[in-house]
Every structure is written in C-alpha cells, then in structure tokens.
Assembly symmetry: C2
C-alpha cells in the first residue's frame, strides 16, 4: 500500500530553510550517499510528489537560473503536483500539474498516479501540515543537520504525535523515520 511521506532535511531546531533561503547549511555537510534512509533509496520508492509554490520557485531559481529554457531539466520523472494560488512559470516537458485548495482530492489523484509506490510531500512545512490535518500523512523522515538557526521556515507547523521507527547516523546527520500517530493520546 502506498504511503504518504514527508522526507526532508531540517536543522536541530526545526527549520527547513534559513531566513535567506540558502541551502548552504545543508550541502556543506557530509553524508554517505548509500547510508541509512538515503535519498536514492527513498526516491526509488516514490511514484508521485507534491510541493508548495515556494519549493517549486526555489527549484526553478536554483536549477534553471542563467540557462535557456530548452536546457531546463526538471529533476523528477514521476508526476508532480504544485500547490499554488499564483500563476507560476511552466517547465516544458515536465509532468507537473498545478493545484490549489483542499489537498484530499489531489491526494486521491496522487495515490492513483503513484500505483504501488509512495507519495512524497516535498514541502514546505505548511503544505505537509495540510495533509496531516486531513489525516493523510503516514511518515516523517528527517535528516537532522548539526546546526541551529533560531529562525527560518518551520519543519512542520502543527501539533503532531509521532512514533520513532528508525534512528541512524549518516556521517554529519542524525537520520530518523517516524510514523504519524493518528489517534489522540
């Protein structure tokens, strides 16, 4: 059965982006690419993904900046839903759908598209929170970077009960997989 997963890097104090939207704090850290809970294994299990407009704009800004649109290479092969209330630039030949409003019907579409594979909510935190609010989030998988920010974009701005399923070190990172506990404690 398909799981709906939030896979992300975070600081120890729960921020997924710094106030400048830089990811230097993340990419300067060491990890083993084949280590526990690694991205390659994770993405191999993903059949559909969703992201918010800020995440989408960040990818466009960082992957495509200074390149001709004909050279743009969207990083995902599986269908992607971008939640947005604004008109965003379209990437040619990428499997992207724009969506807005209630996440539940879009989630049903994503699950159908994913087939046997999982649904990845890339971020940001509030979009993940909307899936959690709807009872649709199954797992939170975090790579905790050895840094605190004190401010930035929050990991998951909700009250949510979790259960630690796996904990392992990957060089500089503490990697953890949690299942979402749906019953109130």
């Amino acid at each position: 059965m398909s799981l709906t997963q939030y896979y992300t890097a975070t600081t120890l104090d729960g921020f997924i982006a710094d106030p400048d939207n830089s990811l230097d704090w993340l990419f300067t850290r060491n990890q083993e690419r084949g280590g526990p809970l690694n991205y390659a294994d994770f993405i191999a299990g993903v059949g559909a993904l969703a992201m918010g407009s800020t995440t989408y704009a960040w990818i466009l800004d960082h992957e495509f900046k200074g390149k001709d649109p004909s050279e743009w290479k969207w990083p995902y092969d599986v269908p992607c839903w971008v939640f947005t209330h604004r008109k965003l630039q379209v990437v040619p030949d990428a499997k992207i759908e724009f969506a807005s409003g209630d996440v539940a019907p879009v989630h049903a579409e994503m699950v159908r598209a994913a087939g046997e594979r999982n649904v990845w909510i890339v971020g940001g935190g509030d979009l993940v929170g909307q899936f959690a609010d709807a009872g649709l989030l199954d797992e939170v998988i975090v790579y905790i970077a050895p840094v605190t920010f004190g401010a930035g974009a929050p990991l998951l701005p909700r009250r949510l009960e979790l259960r630690l399923e796996k904990l392992a070190r990957n060089v500089d990172f503490a990697a953890a997989r949690y299942s979402v506990v749906r019953e109130p404690r």
Copy 2:
C-alpha cells in the same frame, strides 16, 4: 576540564515547552532510566547550574504548589544561579544565587564552584544562547521527543554550528550529543 553543557528535551521541531507550558508531551514518553545519555549519568557530572527565571518559576510552580514552604525540597544539591530581572520567591536552604546581566562573570563563578565537574545551563533557550554568544557553550545534549508542536519556547534561538558526537535511541527518544563548533565555517 569543566564543560558547559545544555542538556534538555526538545520536540522534533525544536521546542522545549508547548504554548501552555505543559510538560505532558515529555513525561508521557518512555525511556530507559539507564539508557544512553541518561539524566542520572549526566547530573552526576554536574557541579553547578544556571537557569532563567521562567524555568525557575516553572520548578517552583510544579514541585512546590500546594505544599507548605517547610516541605519544599529544591531538586538540586549543587549551586544554582538563576538569571532574572525580577524579584523571585526564595527557596529556603537551597544553594541559589540570583544573577542578571552579562553571563561571562557569572560563568567564571560557576566554573570555580563546579571544580572538576561540568556546568549545566538548564534553559531556557535564550539564556543558553547568551552563553553561546559569549563563546562559553561547549555541548548541546538533546532528548528529541517524537512530537511536533508548531509553536512554543524555542530550543536555542541562535545560529550555531554543531558537530554530532553521539547518537543513540532511548525507547521513544532520539538522544544526541553535539559539540559546539566555535570557528566560523
């Protein structure tokens, strides 16, 4: 040599207290008392401690409420400095000093009092941040509870580089010890 340590529990999203100042989220979780990075081993190494006024008021409120002052038992044997700008209730027969302003001279006193043992900054996050600002914080040791809040008292409201020294599971918790990296990256 004496280390200055921040030992605390935190949510996965970096809060040390919820918006209601309840610690139910913490005390309802399971841990092995003799497990990795446990409190008993930690406190045995502590020779002096410091806390902010909110933490102090919380202890008074939760340990002493409804009891006659003659029955109050302050939980620490080692000397404690309470940083406060307001007049706070005094606990009889407890080794407590009130302090305010620059943390550096107080830290020197604490290190002297601690002897061979360590200095524990109990919290809150901003007081710990003041020690970090002064270059006086050596370690951050966290018990990460499997919960997110989305709001509350922040773990450590500073930009701080850390190095993961130890990571281990203690039942429901991810326990991690970090050293503070003082050189700018």
